[in-house]
Symmetry: C2
Amino acid sequence: MEQEIQTKRIMLTVAYDGTNYCGWQVQKNGNTIEGELNRCLSDLLGEDIKVTGGSRTDSGVHALENIAVFDTKAKMPAGKFSYALNQRLPEDIRIQGSKQVDADFHPRHCFSKKTYEYRIYNAEFPLPVKRFYSYFTYVPLNEKRMQEAASYLVGEHDFKSFCSSGSVVESTVRTIYEARVYREENEIIIRVTGNGFLYNMVRIIAGTLMEAGRGNIEPEEVKRIIEKKDRAYAGPTAPANGLILYQYEIL
Amino acid sequence: MEQEIQTKRIMLTVAYDGTNYCGWQVQKNGNTIEGELNRCLSDLLGEDIKVTGGSRTDSGVHALENIAVFDTKAKMPAGKFSYALNQRLPEDIRIQGSKQVDADFHPRHCFSKKTYEYRIYNAEFPLPVKRFYSYFTYVPLNEKRMQEAASYLVGEHDFKSFCSSGSVVESTVRTIYEARVYREENEIIIRVTGNGFLYNMVRIIAGTLMEAGRGNIEPEEVKRIIEKKDRAYAGPTAPANGLILYQYEIL
């Protein structure tokens, strides 16, 4: 009688520097985070592994905590995957932890709370050590105006104005729990926590808050932009390098 | 009658990401910060320019503020050099300011106060976005023990124990004005301010403080290490990537 081999579902917490990747999602041309995870896991386990990602970040976007799950028949203890994978992954991707989850757990179809950070280096000249992790602008930004503008985002709203056109989602309603803007010397940090984010949503929020910060729009204009439910009313999509998926809490 | 062309001495404040350079000082093989400055200045001004650096940082070491001076006959206003140079320099070097100084000003033969920062990312797993700017170790470090150890460095001392052998200097006596160690989440930051630093001094200080932080030596041992005036008694030279020249004040 053959012994039945148990399949288990493993959840990885994944940190990466997105500078040299074409984003999370596997594509034909170019390296992706998902592609590297699939390759290294398949090598490691001798199975054809395809991970399911939590947040499909764009090209150039970074993460301190993204989520990936996969199923395996391997007997390796769940907590050991992080060590084994880190031996194989390139140095710009590092697993921060691994554990077993329920067989029906899906990182995008569960209650979660995500926090994104958008960093802006705001000074007369760029600082080389910040160039991959902070968007540079010499145009003076007032972070107090940006904080006021950000406050109108908090709550449950239809964020259609803050979603890149071309994206197909059932609903554009999301809840923002917190939106903070503060300055640390020459750097302005936007930190937004919500139950989910639409395509390019944080980058459009950042672009819109910068419009308020430089005085092109009044902070309270954000309220009207939300009401319009039209991408054309929000500010430009801010560049990817300033964006980092900061925290991903499974509730 | 020919008009005499006035020569003026210009001081640049230079920031750089040292990751891809063989340090500050010009050498035959490999790119250096000094080499890039000489090349771009000579191109820009049509003169053979050779800058004199303030701190000759090692390969892989970064700077928010280093100093370079040079003489030129160019009529360009002193404050404009930063803009003109930044157009030509690679993106990992950026001038933060330029101004005229006295014709006899020398950045190494003047009273100055330099602050170096050494960063350690101290967690179970490395974080990719920190990898070029923070030395990683998973060995738990106690920053309070490190701060206590650092306190013995403050004052005027002969720092021969904290100077790599092979270096030739007239005196190994230096004054440390301040030495602080603190933790920001998983990162430990060592910040040392002094009137000058010997070859590899901050990296040997960092290596020694880590020995105290992990419990290999008692914090007060630093006092005895200084007294010994022998490199063999101090800790290892910590890797270059964690080091940044943070501030360079001309007094």
